[in-house]
């Protein structure tokens, strides 16, 4: 049998999708995007095409002396929140909705000009038709699928509620708005029907329209409002006023790349990357996605990445957080020290991958910036960065301590007034006491009552006094030990009498704080058994949780206050634990 190789060509009709050729030993022998051409020895093979959620396979044989072999796949119709032609979830009326919203111009809400935000929330299923003939209750429930969105400024001020400005067409299953904005940073907040709130960063760039596309899912049919698939949302940047083209090849390419990146795959070939990058001036988001694909490829694509980062800087501005992350990553790959921007990162990046790079440089997140404030509140949302909004974290009745009371609690872990008094008298020399406070670096002002969510026009929030940064690790360790030793979590959590207090507190905890709960109990047990909890272990824990130390420390502060407000350290629970 001849072993001469024969030419093989595998392609997808529209040239978009990942391709793979596997031999009879189930080993991958060729890969590509849109089209693969290679030479293979005679044998039986399987060609696989993939885009988004769609996979197609075909067995073929390469016969000796048989000449060129060709395998063709039809265009792959994958699901996408963007109503693009050739996707499995598109509808013409959704395409028309976007086109009309852009054609009709941006709505002026007095929020400035030179930029715009378009948000489309759509139901790709047939629920919109089924609700037409449904009961009034089911129709009202269906309508609630589009509710819960609002836009905040970067200072937390609410600019508008989605319910007030969405153009909702339930019979066609969509809600859309197109609003003029001043360039700047904004936060899109969504509160689900179940009450869970999530916040997402949204930049608005001069001369560009930020477009957000979100699909709804109806796992319970019309028995419950639809669920916004926020993790799978698409975000695009288009020149202000540019028409929406549902057959836009670049939008489709970006969607394939985004979905592949979400699954950890580098979907794009060099040729496709070049195409994306050439088109970056039409949609900078494509450039960002392409840049992360290049980053995954490492040294092989470093030169191209350098060009991409430079060109994106001209479009997005040098201080665009995701761009700063890419520059840091490039510096790390090239083995040179990073150039940290003097002002640091105030506003969070769009992509979670960018965050994971930025968080390696805690100095980049100055106190008072939104990035620092959300560091301990992040939630999982696919490739996007998102967090639990702050107003759901602050307790309704915070117990206020003086700085020295909090410090004493942190040092000695005792909570009774008499013991505090005894400790205080032992440190009657105030200078000595505050030297100790200074050493631990925990001398911030006491937290006041929580501030209500402000509407636009309310007075601006005063910044918190800066904490002295010295020995933050030691202070964090003291706080964690305090939480582990002085709060009887197990008995409090198990007590059937305090269900409502428990539920209320747990709801306010950030994901990091909830993630700490099991560890606190283990650490408490560890110490009770005579083992130490060292500073090194504290830093390992903090690093493992992916949060900068200052944010970790602040999160512990919040945790203490929440726990005390909820009465976790009430004597009855301490007695039960002993």
């Amino acid at each position: 049998m001849s072993n001469s190789e024969e030419r093989v060509s595998v392609h997808i009709a529209d040239g978009q999708g990942e391709l793979e050729i596997v031999d009879s030993h189930f080993l991958t022998v060729a890969r590509g995007f849109g089209q693969v051409q290679c030479q293979l020895p005679p044998g039986l093979y399987k060609a696989r095409a993939r885009a988004g959620d769609v996979t197609r396979e075909a067995l073929f044989s390469v016969d000796p002396g048989g000449g060129a072999n060709e395998v063709k796949f039809d265009a792959l119709r994958f699901a996408s929140p963007l109503p693009l032609d050739g996707t499995s979830t598109t509808h013409e009326y959704h395409q028309d909705a976007v086109w009309s919203a852009i054609r009709n111009g941006e709505r002026d809400l007095g929020l400035g000009h030179d930029s715009a935000l378009l948000v489309l929330v759509r139901d790709p299923s047939d629920a919109c038709r089924r609700q037409l003939g449904a009961s009034a209750v089911e129709q009202a429930r269906y309508l609630r699928s589009f509710a819960g969105f609002r836009l905040d400024g970067r200072d937390g001020t609410t600019l508008f509620e989605g319910d007030e400005i969405f153009q909702i067409t339930p019979d066609l299953g969509f809600a859309v708005f197109n609003v003029a904005l001043a360039p700047g940073e904004y936060v899109l907040v969504h509160q689900s029907d179940a009450g869970e709130a999530v916040a997402m960063p949204l930049p608005a760039l001069a001369g560009w329209q930020t477009q957000v596309y979100i699909s709804l899912a109806f796992p319970q049919g019309l028995a419950a409002p639809g669920v916004a698939a926020l993790a799978d949302r698409a975000l695009m940047l288009a020149p202000l006023g540019q028409d929406f083209h549902p057959s836009d090849r670049q939008f489709r390419l970006a969607e394939i790349a985004r979905q592949a990146l979400t699954q950890g795959r580098q979907a794009l070939s060099e040729a496709q990357l070049t195409e994306l990058l050439h088109e970056k001036f039409v949609n900078p988001m494509l450039g960002l996605i392409a840049a992360y694909v290049l980053l995954l490829r490492g040294a092989a694509s470093r030169n191209l990445l350098r060009v991409v980062v430079r060109n994106l800087g001209a479009l997005l501005g040098p201080e665009f957080p995701d761009l700063m992350a890419l520059r840091l990553a490039l510096a790390a790959q090239e083995g040179r020290p990073p150039e940290l921007p003097p002002a640091g990162i105030i506003f969070p990046p769009l992509l979670r991958a960018s965050w994971e790079i930025l968080v390696q440089q805690p100095a980049l997140m100055p106190e008072g910036g939104l990035a620092r404030r959300v560091a301990s509140r992040l939630v999982a949302q696919g490739p996007w960065l998102a967090w639990k909004p702050m107003e759901s974290a602050v307790p309704n009745a915070a117990q206020v301590f003086t700085p020295e009371e909090r410090l004493l609690r942190a040092i000695f872990g005792e909570t009774t007034d008499s013991s505090l008094a005894s400790r205080r008298s032992a440190h009657a020399d105030g200078e000595e006491f505050f030297d100790l406070a200074d050493e631990l670096g925990d001398d911030r002002e006491p937290r006041g009552a929580p501030e209500p969510r402000r509407r636009r026009g309310d007075a601006a929030k005063k910044p918190r006094p800066a904490a002295r940064p010295r020995n933050q690790a030691g202070a964090a360790r003291a706080k964690l030990l305090h939480l582990a030793q002085d709060f009887p979590w197990q008995s409090w959590l198990k007590d059937p009498q305090n269900r409502s207090a428990k539920a209320a507190m747990l709801e306010r905890l950030s994901s990091l704080q909830r993630g700490l709960l099991p560890t606190l109990q283990l650490v408490g047990r560890q110490i009770a058994e005579g083992d130490e909890f060292t500073l090194e272990e504290l830093l390992q824990l903090q690093e493992g949780m992916g949060v900068p130390l200052p944010a970790f420390s602040e999160s512990l502060d919040d945790f203490v206050q929440l726990a005390e407000a909820a009465g976790v350290n009430a004597p009855i629970f301490r007695s039960a634990e002993r």
């Binding site: 049998m1 596997v22 031999d23 009879s24 030993h25 189930f26 080993l27 991958t28 005679p42 044998g43 039986l44 093979y45 399987k46 067995l59 073929f60 044989s61 016969d63 000796p64 869970e196 993790a231 699954q263 950890g264 979670r352 991958a353 994971e356 939630v379 999982a380 949302q381 696919g382 490739p383 996007w384 639990k388 979590w489 197990q490 959590l493 198990k494 428990k502 747990l506 905890l509 994901s511 990091l512 909830r514 993630g515 709960l517 099991p518 560890t519 109990q521 283990l522 650490v523 047990r525 909890f533 090194e536 272990e537 390992q540 824990l541 493992g544 949780m545």
Partner: protein, 364 residues
């Protein structure tokens, strides 16, 4: 016997929280894995080096018990017994050893994270305090310390996206030299893609016992991937799981597994006899008394099959004729894993049918 090989097998089927429903497969999965590990043709791991941590399914202890075992500390204790010196003066390095970490039960992962990972809920986990064993972290920590030359991590659990849960990071001292683990190999196999669900179901070939689909598929891959080879490596296992997954689901689709092979060289698994897959054929156009040729993936002659009224006889070179009964025009033949071409002359035409062994029925 692989004296420096160790294994910790965790199977949790009972949970304190009703939101984590009882499972049928995990304890049996641990039994299956232990059987392979202890077999001389399999892992050949000394029985004393294998630790099983499983739910006590016969216990009368209430599932509402906050300390329903096994808990995280049970695993941590077992792990430290393997890796730490008895006097706690440091860790034990087994350069030529292999550590198996196996987890079966309910699990989750953080969907945003680019790197593959998963955590298994402990039995006492609930919605408020989600105790969990961060399997990926332990495996990677072991690699970073180069405590074993090879680490095999199998997590037969769901990897649902969790909005507000983080895998529980154990407080274990990290190595000071980040290059320490460069030579150690780590194979990671997750039952589902990130955000996906693992499944357990009755497995026909295992007497309809309920097992995790990944556990069953992995053990099948060990026995059937790379036919003709005395050993099977991690790349071959990955290829087998990828290409055979749809067939293993047998018409009831499940999210495919995610396999991360070592980047510094394959891990090889010894095995005994290589098993064959069952391939079904339906006689439609082929007349009784007809014949067809089976050609393998390298386009070499594999076998001749003669179809008679009640039996089909497969003749392979150098092997005794194998007979399969015909029932309702259907018969089944054992074939090694791979792609095949069935060529049947039908008068002036030739029927050519490409198929993957163990997959859909081939109509001739």
């Amino acid at each position: 016997m692989a004296r420096d090989d160790y294994a910790i097998l965790v199977g949790i089927s009972r949970y304190a929280d009703a939101a984590l429903p009882r499972l049928e497969g995990p304890v049996g999965d641990v039994d299956l894995m232990r059987g392979w590990l202890q077999s001389s043709g399999g892992g050949a791991v000394p029985a004393s080096n294998i630790t099983s941590i499983v739910s006590d399914e016969a216990s009368a202890r209430s599932a509402a018990d906050g300390e329903l075992p096994p808990v995280v500390q049970d695993f941590m204790n077992a792990f430290l017994r393997v890796v730490r010196k008895p006097d706690r003066s440091g860790f034990i390095r087994r350069e030529h050893g292999r550590l198996y970490l196996f987890f079966s039960g309910h699990g989750f992962c953080e969907k945003h994270a680019r790197s593959p990972h998963a955590a298994l809920y402990a039995a006492n986990a609930d919605r408020d305090v989600h105790y969990n064993i961060f399997g990926t972290y332990y495996a990677q920590w072991t690699k970073d310390h180069a405590l074993f030359g090879e680490i095999v991590l199998l997590m037969d659990c769901c990897r649902d996206a969790e909005l507000a849960k983080l895998p529980q990071v154990p407080v274990l001292r990290k190595p000071t030299d980040i290059g320490t683990g460069n030579s150690a190999k780590l194979l990671e196999i997750y039952a589902a893609p990130r955000g996906g669900k693992a499944q357990e179901r009755p497995i026909a070939s295992r007497n309809s016992e309920v097992h995790g689909l990944l556990t069953h598929a992995f053990l099948e891959a060990l026995g059937r991937a790379a036919p003709g080879q005395p050993k099977v490596n991690s790349t071959a296992i990955k290829g087998y799981l990828t290409e055979r997954w749809a067939d293993l689901c047998a018409g009831n689709p499940a999210d495919p597994p995610e396999v991360v092979v070592p980047t510094n060289g394959d891990i090889e698994f010894s095995r005994g006899e290589v098993g064959a897959l069952t391939q079904r054929f339906l006689v439609k156009q082929l007349p009784r008394g007809g014949r067809f040729e089976l050609i393998d993936g390298q386009l070499n002659h594999f076998a001749d099959v003669a179809v008679q009224s009640r039996v089909a006889n497969m003749a392979r070179p150098g092997q005794p004729i194998l007979q399969a009964r015909l029932q309702a025009n259907e018969f089944a033949l054992p074939l090694p894993a791979g792609f095949y071409l069935a060529v049947a002359p039908l008068g002036q035409e030739t029927l050519r049918c490409k198929f993957q062994a163990g997959g859909e029925r081939v109509e001739l």
